[in-house]
């Protein structure tokens, strides 16, 4: 079975100072001073794929794991970590376009790579990514490849004995379970306990000397993509929204008094208590 995980790294936005949110002429806040982290959903997707591989071990068929990203910025540390976690291939498609809000272009670049693979893959994505919060890439990828897309996935396990997967989705108050086969795109949502495992020193030593693959978009006219992007939609403004409330601090002499003041002066009159 071939499993491809599409992931993205983005600046850790919680570490931004309020002043950093000012945008420049290109409508970009300055994120250079904060560390880069994995998109939270992609982290779950990367871990889910590893668990599938673990579960498939000991069976006759092998699982090939590919981690795939379209990027211009990310430091090699995370890519190397993925090799250490035994992703068979870690591929970075290099692009200099500003793709923050252009899921269509990202999906095109991902699809072009995926089409070069011989076997039908199971493709994992996250449901949404920073900085664009587009919520589109896996859906467009599935459309371009002409394959189904399931979202938001909360669990995917190997179904014995063939290579089907049992996929669970939480849709607005319904839990849907279905058995599917590759090719399929699975967009991973909020999954409890799905942090990406950390490679040990031994894991890292084992892949010493191996490097992630950096490739240029194959058979794709990047200029053409940029032109298509401009025809469809355009970012016209990007702003912070400040709406400060008048905050009253409640301070008693100790916590018991604070709680009592809070209850009697504030809470009691609200919410019909």
């Amino acid at each position: 079975m071939k499993v491809i995980v599409c992931f993205k790294e983005a600046p850790d936005l919680e570490r931004m100072a309020p002043a950093d949110w000012e945008t420049d002429a290109a409508l970009k806040p300055d994120t250079r001073f904060v560390p880069t982290v994995l998109n939270v959903y992609d982290e779950s997707a990367l871990e889910m794929a590893l668990r599938l591989r673990d579960a498939a071990r000991g069976r006759e068929k092998t699982t090939e794991l590919i981690a795939l990203t379209v990027d211009s910025v990310s430091p090699p540390r995370m890519l190397k970590n993925l090799l250490a976690l035994q992703y068979d291939r870690v591929v970075k498609i290099e692009s200099s376009l500003d793709l923050r809000f252009h899921a269509l272009a990202v999906a095109k670049l991902l699809a072009a790579f995926i089409k070069t693979q011989d076997d039908a893959p199971v493709i994992f994505c996250g449901v949404r990514s920073n900085e664009g919060d587009n919520g589109k890439t896996p859906l467009l990828l599935a459309e371009m490849l002409g394959i189904p897309c399931i979202t938001p996935v909360i669990d995917a396990t190997l179904a014995a004995p063939d290579e089907s997967l049992d996929v669970t989705v939480d849709i607005d108050g319904w839990r849907v379970g279905q058995r599917v086969r590759a090719p399929v795109v699975l967009a991973v949502g909020n999954v409890a306990g799905s942090s990406l495992r950390i490679p040990t020193l031994k894991d890292k030593m084992r892949v010493k000397g191996r490097e992630p693959e950096m490739i240029l978009p194959a058979g794709i006219d990047v200029e053409e993509i940029a032109a298509v992007m401009a025809r469809e939609e355009e970012l016209v403004s990007l702003k912070t929204e400040r709406q400060k409330r008048d905050t009253a601090f409640v301070r008693g002499q100790d916590m018991a008094e604070t709680a009592a003041i809070f209850y009697n002066q504030y809470l009691k009159k609200r919410a019909g208590i």
């Binding site: 919680e14 090719p183 208590i273």
Partner: protein, 341 residues
């Protein structure tokens, strides 16, 4: 101009979609706009009980085979849309609710119909003939406006639109359509299928009082104590992402951009830093009180009442106080010396 409201899934989700889309349209797409409603479901929808929108002129009903198999819904949308060509200034708009299933339909429908899509739209306006859609980006830190240049324009709205009326469209007979070919992309897909009702966030989103816990709550045990407080006060409990990811609360209790958006009379926040993504979930509350041990926590920026200190101690004191008060029935006049410390 024309707008098509696309409702998909099952009851009661469809009812929720009707309400939120009506609220959205009343604000941003009202007036002289021809309006259709497409209702796609595997259930037999009882239109006599269903009240759509005031200005709707046609209601099209289509039945699919499986609940929540997007490929079937997309086949229906393509068939209903047909080969009609609209000029850019006549729209049309295809409008979808905020749920994950219908939002995904918006994006894929736009691709198939050669239009443009936007997910999480919270405002729509025209400026010099340009259509501008506003949404939150950068995990809720920034607000972006996009000019959408193609049609059809498939929009999925952001969660949190409420109070949309359910007024019966007078004299509009629903028309039943069948779509012949519902075969989905990959032959035998899906191979087995099961769909069960789970707990949803409805209790949380409708509550008048919400208690929200963040990572600072510290332990599962403390979350349990907060649940007890919620019970005493008659409120519902929600949490931030780290809390649900650690399974201290269920995923349906997640508040924020990726979870529920609540708008209660009062919201009490314990040990949450107040990140932008979390803020989206609670900022519509009429009144917010926050407890955090860090005086500079961002949560205090948008709280009406702030308590700087250990939230676990505060919860335990408040719970004791409430219990005492409820036992005595009268208001207790706080007497420092009577509390054993």
């Amino acid at each position: 101009m024309k707008k098509i409201m696309v409702f998909g899934g099952r009851m009661p989700d469809i009812e929720g979609q009707i309400k939120e889309l009506n609220a959205f349209c009343r604000l941003y797409l009202a007036g002289e706009i021809e309006t259709e409603a497409w209702m796609i479901s595997d259930q037999d929808l009882n239109m006599a009980q269903m009240t759509v929108t005031p200005e709707v002129s046609r209601i099209k009903l289509v039945k699919v085979r499986n609940p929540y198999v997007a490929e079937e819904y997309l086949a229906v949308i393509q068939a209903l849309y047909g080969n009609t060509h609209y000029s850019p200034d006549t729209g049309p708009f295809l409008l979808f609710g905020s749920g994950s299933f219908v939002s995904a339909l918006a994006v894929r429908a736009a691709y198939r119909l050669n239009g443009v899509s936007c997910v999480g739209v919270r405002k729509l306006r025209w400026q010099n003939e340009r259509l501008l859609a506003e949404k939150m980006v950068y995990s809720g830190h920034l607000v972006a406006e996009f000019q959408l240049k193609k049609r059809p324009c498939c929009l999925a709205i952001s969660p949190g639109f409420r109070d949309g009326s359910m007024i019966q469209a007078s004299g509009v007979e629903p028309e039943n359509f069948t779509v012949a070919d519902l075969t989905v992309a990959a032959g035998d897909w899906p191979r087995t299928y099961r769909c069960d009702r789970t707990i949803d966030a409805a209790g949380l989103t409708a509550a008048a009082l919400v208690l929200a816990v963040g990572w600072g709550i510290g332990s599962r045990e403390n979350v349990r104590q907060t649940a007890e407080l919620a019970l005493q006060l008659g409120g519902e409990l929600g949490g931030s992402r780290p809390v649900v990811m650690n399974a201290w609360l269920g995923m349906e209790q997640l508040l924020g951009t990726s979870g529920a958006v609540v708008a209660p009379e009062a919201c009490l926040v314990f040990g949450a830093s107040g990140s932008a993504a979390f803020k989206v979930g609670i900022e519509k509350s009429k009144w917010i009180a926050a407890v955090n041990c860090d005086e500079n926590a961002p949560i205090f920026q948008y709280a009406d009442v702030a308590i700087c200190g250990d939230c676990r101690e505060f919860i335990s004191e408040l719970l004791q106080y409430v219990n005492r008060e409820q036992r005595s029935g009268d208001e207790i006049v706080y007497d420092r010396n009577s509390t054993a410390k």
